[in-house]
Amino acid sequence: MVKIIIQDLSFRYRSVPVLQGLSFNVGRGKTLALLGPNGSGKSTLIKCINKILRPKGRVVMDGDEIHSMHISDVARRIGYVPQSETMGMSMTVFDAVLMGRRVHMGWKPAARDLEIVARVLNDMKIESLAMEDIWELSGGQRQKVFIARALAQEPEVLLLDEPTTSLDLKHQLDTMETVRSLVKRSGISVVMAIHDINLAARYADTVAMIRKGTIYGIGAPIEMFTVQSIRDVYGVEATFLYDTAGNPVIVPVRAAEEQS
């Protein structure tokens, strides 16, 4: 079942083309990882999906054209966790997650809004931090808060922009396990831009490899990750190992020689 259809999507920053004619689908209840080197357009693509940026082309979700929807209608259906959060003011975790209810609530949160925030905090295992200052948390805990805030929107699709960047190994795995269990439990679709190809191999159903703003290839990790694709997309020579579950583990060896 297809959740989102992306059709001929292009985007320019001023005159510089960043994304060029991208077309692919996101499956319902599936996790799609966007992979590619810095500047390949992963984060831009994420922002084009939920109307933060206005690209050319179409993004269709369950038959509805996203770019003709009002921004608050988009927010009711798509949650987003940005790469870096510039939350300047200190606030409690509960207040931060409650912001996710903004599209559903009026001036005063209803009992249901508070229930949902409490439930999401519980789901993310951060209920004990509810009244802590968000800026006194560790990076991993804070990332969970931002994911919780997006989940409080009750989205059908969750967009994650580099969810594991700046997290230590434990918190990287913790975050990805949380995302996986969310997908299993609630059936939402996840699109994540991610740098770590091994995490993508382990946690994504589908990977889209992006090179210079175009789709190099899209498919299951085991099919997509080859010596040739890693060389073409990342410019890196790599060897492959396989974990006990049969997932590929990519070991980068050296930078590939420039092809003329």
Partner: protein, 347 residues
């Protein structure tokens, strides 16, 4: 388990409401003291009784006349100006995501000073008559605001663009004012300097009606945007993803705060500090939720300004010190106390 977080949050909300209640009571007392103090002796209970009776049935005793015609207009203007400037500061700090933002950051107060200087030094006004200074200050504040919007529009109303445009406009009008002061007479110069220090002494019921009218329209709209202001603290992209039309909120709130600032300072002159530090004091106590921060900043602004006016009138009586000087003397020690005492960061 999930009840616990919700219960803690509700108890947190109750503490914020309690703070608002305490501030209302404190303001009520300070207003009573402010109206009581003066050369005509009366007690604070006389003051409350005369005000309560006078609302429905104004008396004609000396005490009635002193309170209703002399002291109350001054105090009411203090409440309105303090409340308005406090809210403006809180809103501007939120939409510009800058702790140093205040009605002064946008440079529009420099424009007000220029307008007033133009009227005082050269006698040039958009309209003549006894309100020439007031109308000039108001008009030039709005002119400066629109210049800032026009400049910021070219950069898609980003916080940085608005601040830079504000600084540019501020320096432009400051230099124009300096030029007027350079060519003005000593007497006119003294009047301009006095205007820039702020005063509640020019308050009258007409001015209060105008300011009250502006605040009555603008404050409910700003309060309505409280949740959007909360969300905008997370950055523009995150705010858009939560359904906030960031540009619209920023433009509407900028226009409203400009109108409020213009409406207030054209009658009072420039009163600094309150719009900057009033919201910070409240943020340290009630947190950054604008549903509580805006009312708290309004109450705190009013409390500081009326308290400062009491000090201004009594410290060197019968000499009255300009209110702009006293606001900092009253507010800064309280701000420093909270700043040092508070655990962790608050912005």
């Amino acid at each position: 388990m999930s009840e616990t977080a919700k219960e803690k949050y509700l108890s947190f909300i109750q503490r914020k409401v309690l703070f608002l209640g305490i501030t209302v009571v404190a303001l009520f007392l300070v207003v009573g003291i402010a109206v009581t103090i003066g050369s005509y002796d009366m007690t604070i209970t006389d003051v409350y009784r005369i005000i309560a009776n006078g609302i429905l049935n104004p008396g004609d005793s000396t005490a009635d006349l002193v309170i209703w015609n002399v002291r109350l207009p001054r105090v009411c203007m203090g409440i309105l100006a303090g409340a308005g400037l406090g809210i403006c500061g809180a809103v501007l700090q939120a939409i510009l995501r800058n702790p140093l933002a205040s009605p002064f950051t946008l440079g529009i107060t420099s424009a007000a000073t220029f307008g007033a200087s133009l009227a005082v030094i050269l006698g040039i006004g958009i309209f003549g008559g006894s309100y020439i200074v007031v109308i000039n200050a108001f008009a030039f504040t709005l002119i400066a605001s629109f210049a800032i919007y026009a400049l910021a529009f070219t950069k898609k109303f980003t916080p940085g663009a608005i601040i830079m445009a504000g600084i540019a406009i501020s320096y432009l009008f400051a230099s124009l004012t300096s030029f007027l002061q350079f060519i003005g007479t000593a007497d006119a110069l003294q009047q301009v300097v006095f205007w820039t220090m702020g005063s509640l002494g020019r308050a009258n019921w007409f001015a209060i009606q105008i300011v009250l009218g502006i605040l009555a329209v603008t404050i409910p709209i700003l309060l309505w945007y409280s949740m959007d202001l909360n969300v905008m603290g997370s950055g523009d992209e995150a705010a858009k993803s939560m359904g906030v039309d960031v540009n619209r909120v920023r433009i509407v709130t900028l226009v409203l705060t400009s109108l409020m600032t213009a409406g207030i300072i054209c009658f009072t002159g420039t009163i600094g500090f309150i719009g900057l530090v009033g919201p910070h004091i409240c943020r340290m106590i009630v947190g950054p939720d604008h549903r509580f921060l805006l009312p708290a900043s309004a109450l705190m602004g009013a409390l500081i300004l009326v308290s400062a006016d009491i000090a201004a009138r009594t410290l060197f009586a019968p000499q009255v010190i300009p209110i702009g000087i006293m606001t900092s003397f009253i507010g800064v020690p309280f701000f420093i106390y909270l700043f040092v005492r508070r655990r962790g960061m608050y912005w």
